[in-house]
Amino acid sequence: MKSDKLIRIAIRSIIRTKMRSILTMLGIIIGVGAVICMVAIGQGAQSRIEQSILNLGVNMVVITPGTSSSGGVSRGAGSLNRLQVADAEKLAEEGMLLSAVSPVTMTGGRIRGGGGNWHAPLYGVDVTYENIRDWPVATGQWFDQSDIRSARKVCLLGSTVASELFPDQDPVGQQIIVRDVPFDIIGVLESKGQTASGDNQDDCVIAPYTTVQKRLAGRQFIAQILGSAWSPEDVPAAMEEATTIMRESHSLADWEDDDFTVRNQSDLADAATGTTEVMTLLLAAIAGISLLVGGIGIMNIMLVSVTERTREIGVRMAVGARPGDILRQFLVESVVLSILGGVVGVALGYGGSWLVAYLTGWPTAIDTVAVGVALGFSATVGIFFGFWPARKAAGLDPIAALRYE
């Protein structure tokens, strides 16, 4: 029989029993809807979690001065400082796995401004520091390349410094004086809170490293170099690469130890990868179970349907339906039901994840792959769970079927 006839027969009998068809589809509708919703919510949650972990500096590669020892007595970290701006420039230029590099010089002291005074560290950084630390401004703007080149006396205030010195006013456009050097405030950074070890990250002032070196630090060597790998997975390779470049930059011979230290926030990176894996596993489990339950629902109702429609099957056979026709009719019916259910489920999933996004403010993302997989899977479920009932229907004896009460 032609497939268009077959589909017409199946659709006719689905329409004839609207209520039962809807109930049959309900399992698949909820299954597919749940899958799409869960994947969307899960991805939203995942990107949320990743965002917060990235915020802590998962991608970050930190290069600090090495240690020196004299006569077997270590002089501690930073005792041998040969880090220079040139190292940072070389890393930025040759580091394929680093998306951004910034030198960091540190100084500090008494800060006057807004009629008060305060003590805070002053960091001299490059413009890339904004991306490496993921630290945008709350008001005003970040300094740019030309500020770096011409070592302009501009700065950004951490939110703690801003609220201490300028409690009731907008600091942008005003001046602070750090150790007799005046800086124009061009922005206030967003609040970042405390580090895991309890340091208040917002209690600082940030300025171009050129300015800090020239006006305040006056030193050739810098405190650290911050780099950012392209992704958390790239961090170990990026660290190796940075080590090679640094050794080259410092012209170290093979037998010499590193005169610097490359570190990362590996526990954070592990947490990020771990979270992603758990999330994926959880979602896959939920998806599988919901679709399985939906499929069993279809099989259940199709089996009941075969019993209930025994006479109809008898009539169809009497007027000339081959066993194969009956098999295909029931198979097409369950596939049409599950695909229809899948389509409605996708719509429900879209609606559901929109609602979740609306209520929680999470960035739920509908995954087109998830939609495709859910639809494909629901059709497969229709064939798989529809086959047994269909074969049962096709195997009926027409005489017994016609007499069935």
Binding site: M1, K5, R8, I9, R12, R16, T17, R311, E312, G314, V315, R316, M317, A318, V319, G320, A321, R322, P323, G324, D325, P398, I399, L402
Partner: protein, 247 residues
């Protein structure tokens, strides 16, 4: 009765069922020929084998031994698939309990057999169903659902469904069993009219009153034909009907 226009030829037909350890001989050597244009009533008490005969003649079942020719072709020993095609092309069924599809219009019910038509006859289902419904006087009820029709009308829809594939044989199993006297007459009048136009009809009944409308009576008992004779005083159903019935 020449062999050339025989619709059904049964020779030494046997059917044996296995019921546990016992063998039940439902048919024991039936010889029967039905020619084109006949209207045969098959009679017998329950257990006489008339239902088994009906099922075999209707190609719903296969004989244990013996031969069955339908329209000059052997059909005993065909597969389930082939039997389905024979039923579709050669036989129209009318049942006691109508057996229409529920929540389906008369038109769609009549179209049903044509959905399974694999012959190269290329019958247009919609037009053929319309014509068949007009032949049974239900041209104006095409779009009515099955449950909106009376018993007599439902049986006429079933007759239209049997006719739509232009079969060589109409098989009716107690066609008036669920109908009152008046509508029974309507259905019998329709059968007689179709038969007068050349349709071959075989009708199973246990009522002498109904059998009297056929042209020939075949009676079975214990799997054997015990009577096969023409109806002496054939009744005409139309006479008993008021002129308002459209047949």
């Amino acid at each position: 009765m020449s062999k050339a226009n025989a619709v059904i030829t049964l020779r030494d037909l046997n059917k044996t069922y296995a019921m546990g350890r016992n063998q039940v001989h439902a048919l024991r050597g039936i010889d029967l020929t039905i020619t084109a244009g006949e209207m045969v009533a098959i009679m017998g008490a329950s257990g006489s084998g008339k239902s088994t005969l009906m099922n075999i003649v209707g190609c719903l079942d296969r004989p244990t031994s013996g031969t069955y020719e339908l329209d000059g072709e052997r059909v005993d020993g065909l597969s389930r698939k082939q039997l389905a095609d024979i039923r579709n092309n050669h036989i129209g069924f009318v049942f006691q309990s109508f057996n229409l599809l529920a929540r389906t219009t008369a038109q769609e019910n009549v179209e049903l057999p044509l959905l399974y038509d694999r012959s190269d006859r290329k019958i247009d289902p919609v037009a053929a169903a319309r014509e068949a419904l007009e032949r049974v006087g239900l041209g104006d009820r095409r779009d009515h659902q099955t449950n909106e029709l009376s018993g007599g009308q439902q049986q006429r829809v079933a007759i239209a469904r049997a006719l739509v594939t232009a079969p060589s044989l109409l098989l009716a199993d107690e066609p008036t069993g669920n109908l009152d006297t008046q509508t029974s007459m309507e259905v019998l009048a329709l059968f007689q009219e179709l038969n007068d136009r050349g349709l071959t009809i075989a009708m199973v009944t246990h009522e002498n009153d109904i059998a009297a409308y056929a042209r020939r009576i075949v009676e079975l008992r214990d799997g054997l034909i015990i009577r096969d004779e023409p109806v002496a005083d054939r009744r005409t159903a139309k006479r008993g009907l008021s002129s308002s019935v459209a047949v």
